[in-house]
Structure formats: C-alpha cells, structure tokens
Symmetry: C2
Subunit: 237 residues, 2 copies
Amino acid sequence: MTEKSTTQVAGIRQALLAQIASGSLVSGAKLPSERDLSDAFATSRITLKQALLRLEAEGCIYRESRRGWFLTPPPLSYDPTTKSFFNQMVLSQGRQPATRLLSADPELCMKMALPPATALHRIRRLRFVDGRAVMFVEHLLKPDLFPDILTRDLSSSLTTMYREHYGIHSGRATFDIFPAAAYGDAARHLTVAEGSPLLMIIRINYDQHGRVIDCDREYWRHDALRVSVDSHAPAIV
Amino acid sequence: MTEKSTTQVAGIRQALLAQIASGSLVSGAKLPSERDLSDAFATSRITLKQALLRLEAEGCIYRESRRGWFLTPPPLSYDPTTKSFFNQMVLSQGRQPATRLLSADPELCMKMALPPATALHRIRRLRFVDGRAVMFVEHLLKPDLFPDILTRDLSSSLTTMYREHYGIHSGRATFDIFPAAAYGDAARHLTVAEGSPLLMIIRINYDQHGRVIDCDREYWRHDALRVSVDSHAPAIV
DNA sequence: TAGTGGTCTAGACCACCCA
DNA sequence: GGGTGGTCTAGACCACTAC
C-alpha cells in the first residue's frame, strides 16, 4: 500500500507470483534454475535468490537441497484437539501418507519432565505426504511401558501399536507449537537448507490414567501445515 | 551431530551463540553493528549477515529495521483454548502490555465467510510487550452489532467494550495458525524487514448465541510466542 | 560429467535513524 | 552528518544430484 514494490527483489517476487497465479506453474512443479532466472530478470544470482527466499518464507515455493525450487502443495490442516494422528489426518484430507523408520535406539535422555538421565527409547521417523517429506519426528518412550517395542514394525502407527499390543490408550495431550530453524539431522532428512524455517511441535501424550506415555518432537516444513483450533465454549455443549 | 559446522556461517553462528550463552549479552541488548561484527570475524558483511539471519530464524536475535540487532526476550505463551485475551495474557505472565491504535475505518471487505462486499469496520492496532512491538492486528467487525464503536477509545480492550457497551460476550472462537512473511504495513509497524518470518493467527470470534462477532488477523513476530494447547480428553472416553 | 544449489568475496550506493 | 541496516553487483569455488 505504502510501498510500491520499488526494490528489485519485490519486483521479481511479484513477477514470479504472477507467473504462479497464471497457472504456468502447477503444484509440485520445478522452477527454472537460479542462474536461468537471474538471467531472465537481468539481475545477480544473490538478488534473485533473495526473491526466492521471500517466496519460501511465504510458503509459496520450497526447495530440496541442491535439487531445486518447487511449487508448494496445499498445506495440511492440523487440529491438536482431535485424536486423529498422522495417517488418519492425512488420509481424511485426501492425501497419501507414508512413514520411513530412520532409527530406534535405547538412549539416556534428559528431556521431558523426568528425572535426569532417565533411560528412554528414541525412535526417529520421517513422514511423507504425497511423496514429499514434510515432518521429521523423534518419539521418546518410557521403555518400561513398552517391552520389546524396538523389535516391532516401527513404520506403522505407534498409536495403534500402543493400544493393540500394550493396552495403552491415548488420552490427553499437550502441544507446544513455535517457529524454529532446521539444523543437522532434521535439515538433512527433510532435504532442507541449514537454517531454513520450520514449525516445531512438541507433544506430550498421556494415557487413560493420566500417566505420561511419550514425548514427540515434530519438525514440520513450515509451509506444510496450518494449525486449526476450535475453542468450544466451556458451557453445556 | 553429523555436520561439524564446517561452514563459516555455522561457525560464526556458534561463536555468537557462545557469546550470548556466556552472558556477555543480556536480553534486549543491542549487538555490535554488522560492519564491526564482520571485521571481528574477518569475513564479508553478507556472510556475517547470513549468520545473523539464521539466529533470527531460530528466535535468538531480532532486528528493528535500520536500527540494529537485539537479543530476543523470552516468548509469551499463548493458549487459544482459554478466553484470556492480550492484556490479561501478558499481565499474567509478568510482562507489560500496551496497545496503540493505528486506524479505524469503515471498509468494504471480502474476507471472513460473508457475502462479498459486506460493509465492515476495520480497526488496526499495534500491540507491545515490555515496550517491544510484537503484534500487528486487524479487527474486522460487523458494524450493525457495534453502533458508534469507531468514536470510542479503541486502544483499550475490545472484548471488554463488547461486553460492557454492547452486551456481547465472547464464546467460541476458531484459530488458524501458520507461518507467513511480513509485507507492507505489517512489516513497517513491526519495524521488521520485508519478507521476515511471522506467525499469523486468524481468529474468528463468536458470541454467546453462536453468531460471528468479528475476525482478527494477527501478525506476530515469529519469536514472540509459543502456542500451547492442552487437548483435554473428551469426557469419560 | 554437466548442472544444480550452497557458500563466499570485496566492494558499492541508498534510505533511514539518531545525535 | 555520521552511522546503521537494506539492497545490489559480478564474479568465484565447492558439494552434491542426476544422468
């Protein structure tokens, strides 16, 4: 309104947005290379990249490290107040979920609200929507609740396994949701550049008796979801 | 873990983090200028700036446009399921809230789930915590519910005014929370660079009868809050 | 091996803030 | 008016991907 997009970066951003809106690029499509784009806009690669970084921050495009830039698919809707977890949530929105097990180890860990150096199991998984890696997750479990779990098939639903093999039902959960940045393993597995913005969700699950079951640390591509919450009136309902 | 911080940017980031952790910089303190820092690390200003941008993405530091870089104060905790709004929320966490009215106009607007070109009131405000501008908000009201509201003191709590002057009580609300980027007025009022990451919250408020009261579009500095949700088990299960 | 993005240099000018 | 961050240039080499 006040700024009439006088800078080059803003102008390039607008031009790319127009191309996207015109439908010449479709969801998931790959953009031309940075060098080709900087030639096309008669600017330096750094300036062109700044425009791409802005569009990335807006969630219009994303990159896979060293592979290129792509149009972002529509985001998932994530409602923490429902008990629908990943597979069910993705399927109910007409998308295709997949999960890859990365590692599963016993580990000393000082996270969660537990005595220091409590022995925990750490399961790390990568979750996909329509073939795109959107979430890297670490599950931290209390081993005494889940004997032999590390020998089972850990690429399927953990919630279902808790219920069917261990008689543990998910009840309450608490969520902490905040923007963060990608580093190390999370960045590599999400094929995201170091320092890219992420949306982090830390979730603590409780069973039907109010005991802590496990803690999930979810690293989401920042453009992959919208969190939707409906605060029902506390009345009769 | 796998990456041993081989890049300059990663090394500078680590060094700055160490300085911050050592307490040589305190919350709210201003960092040295980019030129001084790039001299100190014997690198170019662009490279140094990339390290600052990463720390910004992590929420460790923030900038005020053309004024410099500062240490980020602790974030607020934001619970959408409570009915505690801005002033109350900030005070309850031992911080100091403030609000500045930016504008209040009638406007044709096609947002919310309303017939197109519905006449609405648009109130724009800037909200502060401990003197730092953390949220730019647009309130869109249905004018027939709030006669003469544009003539009142709009820098105080709207919720209280709804209740005391119009007999309208807030009931249910829905929230849509997602990362976005700063542009135009939002960027300028938050003294944030164009394209900086934001956390956006779109909130629709309903009254005690289930009617839409208003719609808030909140643009938060991405490092200023954590969203906390407790999904209570739905009754007996 | 060719092409991609990731990183980096050593400068430059401009717009704005503050004393 | 001096210092700040915001923007921009015209190159360069490296690490990795895809073929």
